[in-house]
Each structure stands twice: as structure tokens, then as C-alpha cells.
Symmetry: C2
Subunit: 342 residues, 2 copies
């Protein structure tokens, strides 16, 4: 094995090219004028030594690192995966690196990773916060003067650039669909109202009921963590009610998956025994088996726009007001809702 070589520094290049470190720096950065002949010599030395300038040192002196962070509650959720993809792409094209952090929807982990990102002196953060309780974490970012944008979720009391889907309208649309099909008892499986998407969808759910002149029945709200297991438990509880719902609105795709399992476990079927709709499509699953009637959000676009908003702040140092971008979701009619689907 070759012994670990000492890292090549700008001085090594300078020595080899017979110039000062300053001149090498000028060549690397293409700044100011350098004699073409000198420039060539420096470039040759760089190539021969395989020199790569340290971003640490550069970041230290320039006070900017060229690094962003993306913080999401669950990378394995296909919705967030798409956000990651979109964000990563925009960042790379703009010449920034992107550090990905998965908080597992855990506030403590979120606090931890935000501290880490501060220590890393990232120039900006795109974050889908855990919940309204993320506010202190975000305040901390602000106190450090680190730019950030909210993606997918807002946070009560935090005025900041944000891009999210139209959750209220989307939920309203889904529930209206169920109402149109004649359902009168519509369950809603949702996490805590401390999450803005849950809150907004809850709002849409109620509005739709109200539009139809129906009274809101608290018994039909089943609270559960927004994961398959949560959906399973919640659906089971709903079905065990004395007067169970004939249709259910699941707050997101993973919850819907769990809900379906609960239905099947009771020997029932969707949509025959209970209709089901939810937010967020599941890309690959729908390709194989287009079953769930959903409001599909443009997840990848949330990622790209979020990152663009962020870069905008960073590079233009705009101090104008917080921008709010709301993207409409798309209604996809499929079998799970029990309509005569296309």
C-alpha cells in the first residue's frame, strides 16, 4: 500500500511553480491578472501534484462555505425523497454542496442536527420542520444570521420564506369527493395539529363537512403518528366504533398504507367496506398498482423551489418580506375511493 500522502497544499504548488502562494491563489480563483506564462506553469503544477484547494481554509477566511443543509423528518418517505432529489439537484447546479439530515420526526434530533449545521457554518438551510415546536430551533438559526426556508410545512409564529402545497384546498377536495359519493360519516386519520400540514388538512376536512352542512363529529378524528403503523392502529380504532365511518381520509400516503392493512386484517376491503383517500402519491406503487385516490403534491418541485428561494436569500441578501409559495395539488381519482374510476 502507498503510505498516506501528506495533503498537497497551496505552498507545495507555489514552490513547484516557482511563484508565491498568492499567485497560485489568483490562478485558482481566476481573480485579477496573472501572466499567461505564469498561469500555465501554475496550472501544470496543480495537475502534476493533484492539488485540490481546501474548502475548510477557504471557508474560514472567506466566511462562506458553499454548503447548504436539507433537513427532513424522514428520507425514506417517498414524498420527502422527491424533495431531497429536487433540492440536491438545484444546489449542485448552483455550485453548492448539500448536507442531508434526517430527523426521524424527533425534535431532539432536530435540535442536534441544527446545532451541527451551525457548527458547520452552512450558508443556508432548507427544512421541513418536525412541528410547531421546532420554533426555538429556527429562532436559533435566525439569531445566527443563517438563512433558512421552510419546505412543506410552516411553523406557527415563524415568518420566513416558505413553499408548501395547498393543504386546505386539497383536503377539502378529497373530502368533497367522498361526500359526493354519498358518504356521510367520514373518518380522518391525522397526526398532531402541531404539524402545519396536519392542521391545514384538518381545516380543509372541516370546511368540506361544513360546505355539505354536516356536523363535525370529534369521534371520527383518529390521532396517530404519520407512519404506516399509526395508520393501522388508527383505522382499527375507527372501525371499532359503534357507528364506524364509511369512508376515511388519511393524512398522508404512509398512513393510508397502514389503514389498508387494518381494513384487511378485519377481513374487509377497500373501497367496498370503507372508502379511502389520502394526501401524496406513492410514485412507484402507483406505477405498479394505481389504487389510491390521492391529492398528489409536486414534491420534487417543493424541493427545487425551496432551494431556489434559499439561494436567492443567500446570494442577493434580500431583506424584503418573507415569500410564501403555495403549490396546488393534483386530484388523482383511482379505485380506493370507490367511485366508478376512469
Amino acid at each position: 500500500m502507498v503510505p498516506t500522502p501528506a495533503t498537497v497544499t497551496i505552498k507545495d504548488v507555489a514552490r513547484r511553480a516557482g511563484v508565491s502562494a498568492m499567485t497560485v491563489s489568483r490562478v485558482i480563483n481566476g481573480s485579477a491578472r496573472v501572466n499567461p506564462e505564469t498561469k500555465r506553469r501554475v496550472e501544470d503544477s496543480i495537475a502534476e501534484l493533484g492539488y485540490v484547494p481546501s474548502r475548510l481554509a477557504r471557508g474560514l477566511i472567506r466566511q462562506k462555505t458553499g454548503t447548504l443543509a436539507l433537513i427532513v423528518p424522514d428520507v425514506a418517505n417517498p414524498f420527502f425523497t422527491l424533495i431531497v432529489r429536487g433540492a440536491e439537484d438545484v444546489a449542485r447546479r448552483a455550485g453548492y454542496r448539500m448536507i442531508l439530515c434526517d430527523t426521524r420526526a424527533d425534535l431532539a434530533i432536530e435540535r442536534e442536527v441544527i446545532e451541527e449545521m451551525i457548527a458547520h457554518r452552512v450558508e443556508g438551510i432548507a427544512i421541513a420542520p418536525v412541528s410547531d415546536r421546532s420554533r426555538p430551533h429556527l429562532e436559533r438559526l435566525r439569531s445566527f444570521g443563517i438563512h433558512f426556508v421552510l419546505v412543506d410545512r410552516t411553523v406557527e409564529g415563524v415568518e420566513q420564506d416558505v413553499v408548501h402545497g395547498d393543504n386546505t384546498a386539497g383536503a377539502r377536495r378529497l373530502v368533497r369527493h367522498l361526500l359526493d359519493l354519498g358518504h356521510r360519516r367520514i373518518g380522518f386519520i391525522v397526526e398532531s395539529d402541531e404539524v402545519s400540514t396536519a392542521r391545514d388538512r384538518h381545516q380543509g376536512y372541516r370546511e368540506a363537512l361544513q360546505d355539505a352542512g354536516l356536523k363535525f363529529d370529534p369521534a371520527l378524528i383518529a390521532r396517530a403518528p404519520a407512519v404506516p403503523e399509526g395508520g393501522l392502529q388508527a383505522m382499527r380504532r375507527l372501525l371499532e366504533l359503534d357507528d364506524p365511518p364509511t369512508a376515511v381520509f388519511a393524512v398522508n400516503n404512509l398512513v393510508a398504507l397502514g389503514a389498508i392493512e387494518a381494513v384487511r386484517a378485519l377481513g374487509l376491503e377497500v373501497p367496498d367496506d370503507v372508502a379511502l383517500v389520502c394526501f401524496d402519491d406513492i410514485e412507484h406503487a402507483s406505477r405498479l398498482y394505481p389504487f389510491l385516490t390521492v391529492m398528489a403534491q409536486p414534491a420534487e418541485t417543493l424541493g427545487t423551489i425551496g432551494t431556489q428561494l434559499l439561494l436567492d436569500r443567500i446570494e442577493r441578501r434580500a431583506t424584503d418580506q418573507a415569500r410564501v409559495v403555495v403549490l396546488p395539488a393534483q386530484f388523482l381519482l383511482r379505485r380506493s375511493s370507490g367511485a366508478a374510476a376512469a
Copy 2:
């Protein structure tokens, strides 16, 4: 708006606590002995000023950044998503940050991101390389003395720690299954043999045929990029053959999805008109609709073990031989292969 505050440095803390920067450093790092009273004063100052030590400066002097990189060809592929999750988790628990890079299976992007990671002075890289052509990129890492491990894929001519699934045995198992069901003309949709997983599965495919005393027919190999669109095109070509296959082995899950679409587009169905098997399960899709007969690889485990191997190298500076970890895949019998499934 609050004006961007100048970053608090160790000196600010030192001044406020009435000690030297060195003492603050000792408190931060818990190194050596510091008078409890002094320590308290320093900690108070840190809290009051909201001081967070710069990893840039620390990394520069210590020559270690506490940062790893994970490079994959496609974060949106559910298989790699799980690897990401596993890797990220192990890294965080071990006190490392993880930078995620998506190469989009593009060699040029791969080269670019590897240069970036060198510039970032990451301490190690876990990489699922694009193909055997990634070799120069990896050699470059080696010449920089940056530790790396291969995940999911090996690279011809690169001796390095690696963790991957047992592709040959898995492929053999899948094809044997089809043979057992009576199929004699079995198609194989696969990307270039420059990708080790493709190569190994190809190998397994041939071995299975050989075991059954069947002759290999090159016409049954359909080459295509390992994405749904590739699977679609390839399956169409196979079905248009004069003597089309009655069963097809798709090199991975996404290819299988495209293949199914091609079958349906011709008004045919899986498995009635053509049986289908593939590598890698699709977590959420299978939960909703367990249809594909697959060899399921322990993707998340690939991520965790890969990262553990990496940390091992970094922290123990082991110079022993390259370790090779091969994890078995699990055969999941479902409907797509046309057997009387459980």
C-alpha cells in the same frame, strides 16, 4: 429585522469569562483539567453568547472534519433510499455528519462530486459507484488517502472494503424458480455488464440455465438503462421477438415496473402472458400490493454495514486487507411469477 450578528468566536467567550482562548478550548473539548469554578464561568459565557465552535477552524487544525460522504446513483430509487437511511443513521450516532450526493448514474457528475468531497476534506466516503468506469475516481480517492468503501457494487480492479448482496446466488434462485415453473425461454433485462450487480446477476442467470441444461440464447438478453423507461423499452423488444420469452427476469425493481407497463400496453398481463421476477423489493408498493416475486436485499443493512466498515477504517486506521461482506437476499414468492403463491 435584526442585523446579521457577527459570529461569536472563542475569543469572545474567553474575554467574557476572563480567561484565555485556550482555557475555553479545554472546556469545550473536556480535555485536561480545568478548575471547576473556571469551567462554570466559561460554560456560562458560552450559553450567554450562544457560542458554537466552528468546525471549519477545528477541522483545519486537527486535520479531521468529522464529515463523511455517501454517494449513490439515485436517491429516489427506494433501494438506495434505504441505504441512505441506514448510512445516515450510523454516521450520526457515531458523531459524524453525512453529505449525500446523487450522481444520477452519470460518470461526469460522479467525478465532480468526488472532487468536491476531496475539497471538503471528508474523512471517508461510502459509495455505490456508477460502474467499473468509476475506477479512476476511486483511484483518485486512494491517492488522497481518503478512506472509502464500496456499497452494493464492486469495481473491477479496485480492492477495497465492500458490502453487497449475493447477486449471483440471488439471480440463480430467481431463474431457477422460473425454470421450476416450466419456463424454458426466459428473458433477462439488464443494464451494461460494466455494473457489477448487473454482471453478477447475469452470471447467476447463466448458471441457472446451465444447471437446467439449457442453452444460453443471446437474443433473450435485452440491454437497457436500469430505470422504468428502460424496462419498458426492453420488455417491448423482448415481446416483439419471433419466439418471445414466456418469463422475464428484470435486473431490478424499477426495470420491472417499466416491464409491466410494456406488457399491459400490449394488452397482455403479468403473469398470465409472461411471468416476471426481479431483484429488490419496493417497500411501500409491496405493502399496498404484494405482487412482485423478488429477491429482497437488506438495503438498509447495506447502508449501516458499509458505514460501519468505513468508520472502522477511519478510526482504527486498520491497514489490513480489504474486507468483503456479502449479504444474502431473501426470496419472496408473490404473484408476478405465476406460481400458486402463498
